[in-house]
């Protein structure tokens, strides 16, 4: 019996040591994905992009030879679920960085990750996440460990409004154009609501009472009738693609047709195909080229895509590329952190804040040059406005304008 015990302890000790040895050159990363729930329409391609990119990094030498050990959890877009997952991770996986998703959960986690010093790369581009110090007067809470790839929702909406003002003039519109914000009563569509409305007023728009429509796709004729009665000229859609498809179809039915402008998650190839002619002319900000574009970095993206689709035949939509970009910015920061000493949360944050007009190697033309500083986490403020046309199934993205929204100090964190 005693011998058995001894053997057991020895085996356990060896096992324990071997797992420790493996753990030493692995980088634990949390991946909070939305594969089910109201935003899964865009959560799946983005999550696939994140996972494929991490697998690609692991298959190609890792981060300075260290492998990313990531755990994917589908939290179904429920903020409390996300917090519970985070707490679970902090007592087990202990990630040094997290690839996250929605606005509600990311904003709820801001204080937690700041306390635990875990850099958080969200797919939420909420303007509330851009002020690391909390000095800006409109900031509710400082978000020192939050990063995201792309222009914030507020800046994107400002860019769209800027474009709309020019468009109104170009079309010879008379009087003040009417702007309306549409979206669910949820932190994500609400994030740019006030910031964008204020800028629209500044540009001479008449800002109408916002309209609420559900994040879950469903009939929205009542909202479209309100929209029609309001006489809006430019309507911003704050929800994700699936919900916007049903909105546009409903509005087509009741004959409400202002110039629709979508959030960066609000319009993609799937929605163009699903909404067909109802969606023609929707203005959309692109955070990356589309799958068939021939930007130099697309070669890397296609290699990344082969991680889960060896045939290489699968079409990846816009969100996939942005997911990959988010991972590669994180990877580059980890490499800098590693050279400086160790891959820890605070080192990754410091490394992120040294990036100036940075584009991850191999992704030129895919990821926009981004700059983060210790005072300003607005990676980019460039908004590329396109309109889309269904074109009988051979859909097209038509470039309209590239608006660089000014980095006003009082817009930080808002």
């Amino acid at each position: 019996m005693r011998r058995l015990l001894l053997c057991g302890t020895a085996a356990l000790a060896i096992f324990g040591m071997s797992t420790m040895a493996i753990a030493a050159d692995k980088i634990p990363v949390g991946h909070l994905a939305c594969y089910t729930g109201p935003t899964s329409d865009v959560g799946i391609p983005y999550g696939n992009g994140v996972a494929d990119a991490m697998n690609f990094i692991n298959a190609n030498g890792g981060v300075n030879g260290k492998q990313l050990e990531y755990e994917t959890v589908d939290y179904s877009y429920k903020a409390p679920q996300a917090i519970a997952t985070y707490k679970k991770w902090m007592s087990g996986l202990e990630p040094v960085a997290i690839q996250g998703w929605g606005t509600a959960d990311t904003e709820a986690l801001v204080k937690f990750i700041a306390k635990d010093e875990v850099p958080y790369f969200s797919a939420s581009y909420s303007g509330h996440l851009t002020d690391p110090t909390g000095k800006s007067p409109k900031t509710k809470a400082p978000a020192p460990y939050n990063f995201f790839y792309g222009a914030s929702y507020s800046d994107t909406c400002r860019g769209l409004v800027q474009w709309a003002a020019d468009d109104w003039k170009a079309k010879g519109g008379k009087g003040a154009p009417k702007f309306i914000h549409m979206g669910a009563n949820h932190p994500y569509p609400n994030a740019p609501k006030e910031a964008c409305a204020e800028y629209a007023k500044e540009l001479g728009f008449q800002v109408l009472q916002p309209i609420v429509y559900d994040l879950k796709p469903g009939d929205a004729k009542a909202q479209c009738l309100t929209l029609k009665d309001s006489g809006a000229d430019y309507a911003y859609m704050g929800n994700t693609a699936g919900s916007n498809i049903s909105l546009l179809n409903s509005c087509q039915t009741v004959g409400a047709n202002p110039q629709f402008m979508a959030n960066v998650w609000g319009w993609d190839e799937n929605s163009i195909m699903a909404a067909r002619e109802s969606g023609d002319g929707v203005a959309v900000p692109l955070g990356s080229p589309s799958w068939k574009a021939d930007a130099p970095g697309m070669k890397t993206i296609r290699a990344i895509s082969k991680m889960s689709d060896p045939s290489g035949g699968k079409y990846r939509n816009l969100h996939y590329m942005r997911g990959a970009c988010a991972v590669f910015f994180m990877k580059d920061a980890m490499e800098i952190a590693d050279k400086k000493g160790a891959i820890t949360g605070s080192n990754i944050k410091a490394a992120m804040e040294t990036m100036t007009n940075h584009v991850p190697a191999g992704l030129e033309g895919v990821c926009k040059p981004s700059t983060w500083t210790g005072e300003d986490h607005r990676g980019t403020t460039e908004v590329s406005v396109y309109t889309t046309s269904f074109n009988g199934g051979d859909f097209k993205f038509n470039e309209q304008a590239t608006v660089t929204v000014p980095r006003r100090p009082d817009w930080l964190g808002w």
Partner: protein, 354 residues
């Protein structure tokens, strides 16, 4: 072994009213209860955070489930709005603490009282309607409260949710799982003793009388309206305290967490555990909390590299809960508490079970 047997009785012999009214049916049951609480006191030293997290979940859901069992199992009413009360407690405690600065130590029972007030109002229809109609009325209260949570920015922070400060006592923060566990354990013991005692009182017996035959109860002089509404009030108090514990544990309260689905899960807990049983509420909660974890463990065991399976995990968890409720309704409608009693009886009478 022999000593244990001598303590176990082969039947329930109660010769005095006092003996008939004890909280614990047998001395062994009492010792087991005290012993398990003592054992649980040592849990944070032994268990890792993951297991403690599950125990904490069982704790706050268990308190709320007992509340639902008081209204459904003991008083024979139905409530489809329990999650909304649970949420109201969470928001109330976070709000009280956040705006007035009253320590969390006091806001948890205060949140319970506030929720009780809401429950008494929502319970008013119960004084007049029953059955399916009451179910729909409580369903309405679920939606009214949910909408209130999403819009009342002053109270809940609106759709963005509210931050809840950690539980503190004399400047010491109960932030980690290891420490918060004791807070939850304290409340579980207090609330369950309270629940068990409630059923020994005049009011508790009135609840049971209303459930068993409301006409006879009324003829015996029980005020039906009063007790039906009171039952909703007490049930909401439990939900409020459970919700407040949940809110301060998570540190963040959001309207999304308190949907109809959670109400159904509470119903599932009391059905699986056993309607009209204090211990059943706890058993059902343990079952409901552990079931998804067991599913997850199973999925990882079968194939952690199988992406299709891990992506389907969210569905598998939800389906398992549905399946469990159906199977219990068919095969064990009296719940786990009943099954436990049968097992005990089997061993008590072994080997002469006839």
């Amino acid at each position: 072994m022999a000593s244990a047997h001598s303590r176990m009785r082969c039947g329930e012999f109660r010769t005095t009213y006092q003996a008939d009214m004890t909280i614990f049916p047998t001395p062994l049951a009492r010792r087991t209860a005290v012993g398990s609480v003592l054992l649980l006191l040592a849990a944070p030293a032994v268990l890792d955070s993951y297991l403690l997290n599950l125990l904490i979940q069982i704790g706050y859901y268990g308190i709320a489930a007992l509340g639902l069992n008081i209204v459904v199992g003991f008083t024979g009413q139905i409530s489809l709005g329990h999650a909304a009360f649970f949420g109201f407690g969470a928001f109330a405690s976070a709000w009280l603490n956040g705006t007035t600065g009253i320590p969390v130590f006091f806001t948890i029972p205060l949140a319970g009282a506030m929720t009780m007030a809401v429950g008494l109002i929502v319970g008013i229809p119960a004084g007049r309607i029953k059955g399916l109609y009451l179910a729909i009325a409580t369903l309405a209260s679920q939606y009214i409260l949910e909408d209130f949570f999403a819009r009342a920015e002053w109270f809940t922070g609106g759709s963005a949710g509210a931050m809840a400060n950690p539980f503190t006592l004399f400047g010491y923060e109960f932030f980690t799982d290891q420490t918060y566990f004791y807070v939850v354990l304290f409340y579980v013991v207090v609330m369950y003793l309270g629940g068990a005692n409630l059923m020994r009182t005049r009011d508790g017996r009135a609840f049971v009388a209303v459930r068993d035959h409301y006409l006879s109860a009324e003829i015996m002089g029980i005020n039906l309206t009063k007790y039906r509404i009171l039952s909703f009030g007490i049930s909401s108090f439990y939900a409020g305290v459970g919700g407040a514990l949940f809110g301060h544990y998570l540190g963040f309260v959001s309207a999304e967490g308190f949907t109809l689905l959670l109400s159904i899960q509470f119903i599932g807990m009391v059905i699986i555990g056993g309607l009209g049983s204090v211990m059943g509420a706890m058993m059902g909660t343990v079952f409901m909390v552990l079931l998804p974890e067991v599913m997850e463990f199973g999925v990882h065991l079968v194939g952690s590299n199988n992406t299709a399976l891990t992506q389907a995990l969210a569905y598998i968890k939800e389906m398992a809960i549905g399946l469990a409720i159906i199977l219990f309704l068919i095969f064990e409608p009296d719940g786990l508490a009943h099954r436990w009693r049968m097992i005990k009886n089997y061993w008590k009478l072994y080997p002469f079970s006839y």
